[in-house]
């Protein structure tokens, strides 16, 4: 549901809820009672559903992820003017949608991947406001980065399948596809956010 539709629905529900709540004469008739039921039961539930869906959709946006101060450095790392940094390269070349950059690479594509990401997000909120906030360079992934996330886009792509580096040994590609050899921790693509490098780094200026 679009934000404008959701907001209109909520505003309409709000107005009707006040109307049926405070106009005594309105609910005397049968039509008035039906209106009260719509205003105080059906429309609020629809509004709740629309609002919840909107919030879930927003939680996948880059702006949402970077809205916590501790994530600012990670957002900045997407703009390194150096293609050696994997996230920067993906972000700047639109290999991932820029407005959903974090979610694209940090959500696994298996069943309930999105749900798990939301639960992790709730934990992040807890740490942000009630826990001890770590310094950005100490923030690590909960589990090693899974190849399936990379393969979600790269699998079958000519550049991925045919590049010489992926054929250094006859079984390398197979091992990468099976997850036996990690794309990142094997050392081949291990330059990621590296927020410790931010000081003095050169940044790409995003044109809109």
């Amino acid at each position: 549901m679009q934000l404008s539709i959701t907001l209109t629905l909520i505003a309409l529900s709000l107005g009707l809820a006040l109307l049926v709540g405070f106009r005594r004469d309105l609910v005397q008739s049968r039509a008035g009672k039906i209106l009260a039921f719509v205003a105080l039961a059906i429309l609020p539930v629809l509004s709740l559903w629309g609002g919840f869906e909107e919030h879930l959709d927003r939680a996948t946006s880059t702006e949402f992820c970077l809205s916590c101060h501790v994530m600012k450095d990670f957002g900045q790392s997407l703009k390194y003017d150096d293609p050696g940094y994997i996230p920067a390269r993906h972000y700047q070349n639109n290999f991932v949608p820029r407005d959903h950059a974090c979610y694209t690479c940090h959500t696994d594509y298996a069943m309930f991947g999105g749900v798990k990401a939301k639960i992790r997000g709730l934990r992040h909120i807890y740490v942000q406001y009630l826990g001890t906030i770590p310094v950005p360079k100490d923030i690590k992934l909960y589990t090693p980065f899974s190849n399936t996330t990379c393969l979600h886009c790269h699998l079958g792509a000519r550049r991925f399948e045919e590049v010489n580096a992926h054929h250094k040994t006859p079984d390398l590609l197979m091992k990468v596809k099976s997850g036996e050899t990690s794309c990142i921790s094997s050392g081949c693509h291990d330059i990621v956010h590296e927020v410790g490098d931010l000081k003095g780094a050169k940044f790409w200026r995003e044109s809109r």
């Binding site: 709000l14 709540g21 105080l40 039961a41 609020p44 509004s47």
Partner: protein, 63 residues
């Protein structure tokens, strides 16, 4: 408590919950989600439940 009074209380709860939900949709921030789920939604749901209960219970007739 008369049906009209119950209706007014339910309407107030629903309206307040919806207002909080609407305000929570303005900023894009994790706290906005918490406000939506933790404050707006429970208040609104309480209003809806109060309204539904007032429908099935036997209220006093108003004058």
């Amino acid at each position: 408590m008369t049906f009209e009074k119950r209706l007014r209380i339910a309407g107030l709860f629903v309206a307040l919950g919806l207002l909080i939900q609407m305000l929570s949709l303005l900023p894009i921030h994790p706290l906005a989600f918490i406000v939506f789920v933790g404050i707006g939604a429970p208040i609104m749901v309480a209003g809806v439940i109060f309204f539904l209960l007032s429908l099935v219970s036997q209220p006093q007739r108003s004058e």
